[in-house]
């Protein structure tokens, strides 16, 4: 019975995040970390950040971090429940809106959605990145590498995977240099 409760808890924690992911999966990372590390104590901070790193270099959307968490906590059932919880609510909403969109295309309505939600998305993505960095290993080293990679992403024509690998080596090098 304890397992059933865990599956229910997984759903209860992840499903609201689905509807909160305005601007994409990156905007919920801060809240996700807060819920699973501080709130439920399901994972240590290190385990969370390890899974985050894996989700970014593995194929597919980074939000599949919840699939890995679900697996880690409750095996196959956990992976399935976590994946459904994070994708189903927002997907239903998108399909419902797609349906109404076709019966009544309306550019003003679309413009209003984008206008009103885009600033929230930007705020959530940035605050998630800041939350993750405050909890990351390495203190100032983490901040400087993150800002360096962020700037490099805008200035240099390198793929995200290449940038992450360069950043990871830079991080390790600076950590060793800093002792």
């Amino acid at each position: 019975m304890k397992d059933d409760n865990l599956l229910v808890s997984l759903f209860v924690v992840f499903a609201p995040l689905s509807l909160m992911a305005i601007g994409g999966g990156s905007s919920i990372l801060g809240e996700l970390q807060h819920s699973v590390v501080d709130g439920r104590h399901w994972l240590t901070n290190k385990a969370f950040l390890d899974m985050f790193a894996i989700s970014r270099v593995a194929p597919g959307p980074g939000t599949l971090i919840v699939t890995l968490m679900g697996w880690h906590l409750a095996g196959w059932a956990g992976a399935i429940v976590a994946t459904i919880a994070i994708f189903a609510p927002s997907s239903l909403l998108v399909v419902v809106i797609a349906h109404f969109w076709h019966s009544r295309p309306n550019a003003a309505w679309q413009g209003a959605m984008v206008y009103g939600l885009a600033p929230l998305a930007a705020g959530l993505v940035l605050s998630s990145a800041i939350t993750l960095l405050s909890n990351a290993r390495g203190g100032w080293v983490a901040w400087s590498v993150a800002v360096g990679i962020g700037v490099a992403a805008r200035k240099v024509k390198l793929g995200p995977l290449t940038l992450m690998i360069i950043g990871s080596f830079a991080f390790c090098g600076l950590l060793m240099a800093a002792g």
Binding site: S26, A58, G123, L124, A129, A153, G159
Partner: protein
Amino acid sequence: MLRKDAHVATDASAPPPSLLDLGLAFTKLGITSIGGGVNGMMHTEFVTNRGWFTDRQFLSGLALAQSLPGVNVANLALWLGYQLRGSVGALVALGAVVLPPAFAILLIGNLVLRLSADPVIGALLAGLAVAATGLSLSVGYLAMRYACIDVVSAILFGCTLIGVTAFHFSALAVVAALAPIGVAYGFLRTRH
């Protein structure tokens, strides 16, 4: 319903693809996308190569996929799948971008997590997480420049960032409070 929806994308140059074609195309994108940037790949694949959508159809779908809640790639797949083959198309496209990578992350994740106790691998993973956060900073910065087009949108952005980061308000509460204000103001704005 399916037959009616299948005719939605009439101004694109190609006839609607079969569910199998649709599933395979999205599977390929889901499994080859690493570290983001899949939206650009989808554009190349569906507009340029296959001609399933016009530029305008694709871009309006992209704008909505990014502003509605949910994972951007999944939302875009749902939207494009729906345009091509109705609800079933949406479900197939979603499954195709989510399921194969879900198996991949379990495989890779379980292997790597077992090795993460090793100090070197642990440090490399921590470095990857930090660098990935740097990419998020860059995306967030771009999103901010794009979103803050007047005083009201800048205030909405500022309240979200400061409310969640400095005051530790729940992001859900912030979205619930600010999203209706933002969208309502967006409506009023277009009326004038």
